[in-house]
């Protein structure tokens, strides 16, 4: 009898522990929605980190991870800080002189940048899968019609920032630490390119409604942000197995979340994790996937750290 009571008590504690995280009756959709909400906060900070170097973001991200750990019993903050220490060798502020030979000559060329050099580099390198040596995270499309070689402060690189769609200048790109220039292997249809450039804000509907993603809604290159939408008329991503998502912080967050929610069934947690990553892999386009795309050809690369 005593033994039965102990077992009942154990179930009771496990049950209440589970309820403290998520109501037992919460639907699967609600569970996924909660993950998306939690992830959106991380991605918001991540997106800001890719386009600014505000050291305050590191503290914001630490707080996010601490809250996440408190909520789901994970130890992501510890992992992140260990990663930051390992990554600190690339830290430090430095001013790179403008790249002497960055080509700005072909309409529709895709530009990738990476190699952040500051305090927030640990966020970027922790969250995203980083495969290339240059750690590409940010992208832009050259709108050659806007390029003025007599004024390098005039915006002509169509891109996106945390707040939505935007443009950057040649001088900004010439002073980025690492840059790759990708040229479509087949010639771009000019009308498709013009249409893509004209709808540059398609995925950037203001700061409020942007959803998370490495590229989706945050970094817009010619409206090619998802695998299903390719207004350039070419498959821009590779979905390459080279991209190892399991080493990304995004993977760690999702893994910790489902492990907590489905604590009673590791196999369900694993299944949900795989579903999530498969979905992410098949819908979002990473800067590094563009780098490895068989439909894009690397024509220029500068790695400066």
């Amino acid at each position: 009898m005593k033994k039965n009571i102990l077992i009942l008590l154990l179930f009771y504690f496990l049950f209440t522990a589970g309820c403290s995280i998520m109501d037992q009756n919460t639907s699967e959709a609600d569970i996924d929605a909660q993950l998306n909400a939690d992830m959106a906060k991380a991605m918001d900070i991540y997106a800001k980190a890719t386009t600014t170097s505000d050291a305050g973001l590191s503290e914001e991200f630490r707080k996010y991870l601490a809250d996440f750990d408190g909520k789901y019993g994970s130890s992501l903050l510890k992992d992140f800080e260990a990663h930051g220490l390992a990554n600190s060798r690339i830290g430090g502020v430095s001013d790179y002189p403008p790249l002497a030979n960055l080509p700005i000559d072909t309409d529709g060329n895709v530009y990738l940048s990476g190699g952040v050099k500051d305090a927030v580099s640990s966020i970027i390198t922790w969250v995203a899968p980083n495969v290339t040596r240059a750690q590409y995270v940010h992208g832009a499309l050259l709108d050659l019609d806007k390029f003025d070689p007599t004024d390098l402060d005039k915006p002509c690189f169509q891109t996106a920032v945390a707040e939505g769609a935007s443009y950057e200048t040649p001088m900004q790109w010439m002073t980025k630490p690492n840059v790759a220039v990708m040229k479509p292997v087949s010639g771009l249809n000019q009308s498709s390119l013009n249409a893509a450039e004209a709808t540059m804000d398609q995925y950037c509907r203001g700061a409020i409604s942007t959803s998370y993603g490495f590229f989706k809604d945050m970094v817009n290159i010619s409206s090619v942000v998802t695998k299903s939408d390719n207004s350039l008329g070419i498959e821009i991503d590779s979905n390459s197995p080279i991209i190892d998502w399991t080493t990304s912080g995004l993977y760690s967050i999702v893994k910790a979340y489902y492990a907590s929610i489905y604590f009673w069934s590791p196999s369900t947690a694993k299944k949900k994790l795989n579903q999530y990553i498969d979905s992410t892999r098949s819908t979002l386009v990473l800067a590094e996937e563009i780098y490895y795309s068989p439909n894009m050809r690397l024509t220029y690369e500068a790695i400066r750290y």
Partner: protein, 352 residues
């Protein structure tokens, strides 16, 4: 015949003296000299002494400056961005005190500053609205007062001020329209002056005492016709900006970059089929016909003009097609006794 064409060896020698200055001095050792020119370059403020012909780094900063700026007395009004926060700034540099103070900060894709006016274009491009354009005035106590703001699908290409009129040139995001906008500070109003189908290139503006010359700057080997307009802003009357389209000028060359106005002539950089830079000198009659057109070959383009006097123009020189990162300090001497003779006279090596 110009002195340049008579003295090719001398010209070659001058070209040899073209030296880049993208490595400013590590220490700020230069004292403020009222007669010197000061201008931003990358992360430094450079000092050029026109009489001695020497160039120094006056101040190194953590900002990355945009090339255009404004000067009043010993104050430089600078626009810059910072790597620390990804923000843009308008800064006040007191040359005498060697101090920099932030006037405004924000996230902007473009900034135009022509003391006492500031035009900013937001970094974010909002769907259906475009950029947020804001026009402000700097008051005597350095307080910035916003005069007006509006959303517009407008990419700023160039700007000039004439009295209390600010003229902006630009195009739309879809590359369909080129336009010239006039802002009357007195009326606090925008008005579209010229709106035409987009052509290759961007519209540059150069002001004279009475007018603004607007022309297409391009390097696409068009050379059929350099389209240009002469605009006559009327201070305080935003709805009345008569303009005329000029007859074709300097056929065979493409206007290329922002020029200036000196000694009663517009001086407009142009580029030829071999990507060589020339300066076209234009004198325009009241009716819009060109009175005189002359041309000299120049060793580099005109990127940012720093000083215009009766006898010379000092500017930062740059030709993207020669080298993407080589900038020069250039003095163009104008012989006032015989306006048919010009000489690119001094090109100064940076003092290390």
């Amino acid at each position: 015949m110009s002195r340049i064409s008579r003295r090719p060896a001398c010209y070659a020698g001058l070209l040899f003296l073209l030296v880049t200055f993208h490595s400013p001095c590590a220490e700020d050792t230069q004292k403020y000299e009222a007669d010197s020119l000061y201008f931003p370059f990358n992360s430094s403020v450079m000092q050029f002494d026109p009489s001695a012909g020497t160039l120094h780094s006056y101040m190194n900063t953590s900002y990355f400056f945009q090339s255009r700026y404004s000067r009043t007395g010993n104050i430089l009004w600078l626009s810059a961005r910072s790597d620390d926060k990804g923000e843009n700034y308008i800064l006040i540099l007191d040359l005498e005190k060697r101090s920099i103070v932030k006037l405004i900060s924000g996230r902007f894709s473009s900034i135009a500053i022509s003391y006492p006016y500031i035009v900013t274009v937001s970094q974010a491009f909002e769907t259906g609205k475009g950029f947020l354009l804001s026009v402000s005035v700097i008051q005597k106590n350095n307080r910035v007062v916003e005069l007006l703001k509006t959303h517009s699908d407008f990419f700023l290409s160039d700007y000039e001020t004439l009295g209390d009129t600010i003229v902006l040139s630009g195009s739309d995001s879809g590359n369909k329209i080129d336009c010239i906008e006039a802002i009357s500070v007195k009326d606090k109003s925008f008005s579209t002056l010229i709106k035409i189908p987009k052509e290759k290139g961007t519209i540059k503006l150069v002001k004279s005492p009475e007018s603004i010359l607007a022309y297409y700057s391009t390097a696409i080997e068009k050379r059929e016709k350099n389209k240009a307009f002469l605009i006559f802003p009327k201070p305080g009357r935003s709805k009345e900006f008569p303009y005329i389209e000029l007859a074709p000028i300097a056929t065979g060359y493409d206007f290329y970059g922002k020029g200036c106005y000196a000694n009663g002539e517009f001086i407009i950089p142009a580029i030829d089929v071999k990507k060589k830079i020339h300066f076209i000198f234009l004198s325009i009659r009241e009716g819009g016909s060109t009175d005189r057109v002359r041309r000299i070959e120049a060793p580099t383009g005109m990127y940012t003009v720093h000083d215009i006097t009766r006898n010379s123009i000092i500017f930062t020189g740059y030709n993207y097609f020669d080298s993407m990162t080589d900038f020069f300090i250039v003095r163009l001497r104008i012989d006032s006794k015989n306006k048919n003779q010009f000489d690119i006279h001094e090109l100064i090596k940076e003092t290390q």
